[in-house]
Amino acid sequence: MRPCSPQTFLCLLLESVLPDPYREAIIGDLIEQYTLRVESTSRFRASCWFWSQACRSVPPMVWCWLCSGNCFLNMSVAVGVFIVMATLKFAADLTISKLVSPDQTTDVILAPIVFLTITAIGGCVAARIRRGATLFLALMVTITVAILIELKVCSSPVPWWYQFGFLTLGPLAVMITPTLFGPLKQQGSVT
């Protein structure tokens, strides 16, 4: 049985976003209900229900977790990791500029690779220190990228989807990588 197969990405996202100790229970409830709905209605309708429930469930859970008192500690960890990430990015850019001759094409290709690698590492480190810090870190990455896009720091002209990629994939890398590769991956399979 593959009860969550059409929602693999969503399950992964929920696993990254939802706070402990109710994460497992919420995702489990959704999968169980989805399976029942697939049997009683159609797969499409069950998927719609799953998506709507998942999207509506995140804000109250995140708000509840933000009000729980761990907020300051998580934010401190996120700021610390963010500073390390910024330093790493600066060092990587410096090394690349010394190793490779400054060329716009190389820059456009290497920039997302470096960026995503650093955000993924940052996400894993933050999650290892405090699980809740990843949410703040993702938020900080989003804000920083948005500001950089607005300030037009990119030297070469790039299409909108290139910038949009940074804006969406950066926070996603922070949130999802710890769930995918980190020690936090639970025994529950996201099939």
Partner: protein, 110 residues
């Protein structure tokens, strides 16, 4: 529960649902009970967020259940009402009852 402090509407409804379900129920069962009785379509996240709040207040307690294949191998979390929760419900009900006492005739004019 402090004097004068009332339960929120969702807190109230969820506590009542847990009392009805007896023994221990997980979030989705609570959600379904509320939907069937009130017609309110609330998200599972809102149910769990409220249950978390109630647990922090000591009105409900939770324990982990067994993971099942139907749940993708994920454990369930069962909730039950504690004595403090039942007391809070009684106080809340009493307050609402005393506030609405004698207003039955006025409903038509409001």
């Amino acid at each position: 529960m402090k004097r004068g402090e009332l339960l929120g509407s969702l807190e109230h409804i969820i506590l009542l649902a847990l009392v009805r379900l007896e023994g221990g129920a997980h979030g989705m069962i609570v959600r379904r009970e509320i939907e069937e009785r009130t017609g309110r379509n609330i998200s599972i996240g809102a149910v769990y967020a409220t249950l978390a709040r109630l647990e922090a207040k000591g009105y409900v307690s939770s324990f982990a259940g067994e993971p099942t294949p139907q749940r993708g191998g994920r454990a369930t979390r069962l909730f039950r009402v504690e004595a403090a929760g039942k007391r809070a419900l009684q106080i809340s009900e009493q307050t609402i009852r005393s506030m609405s006492a004698g207003l039955k005739d006025r409903w038509g004019t409001i």
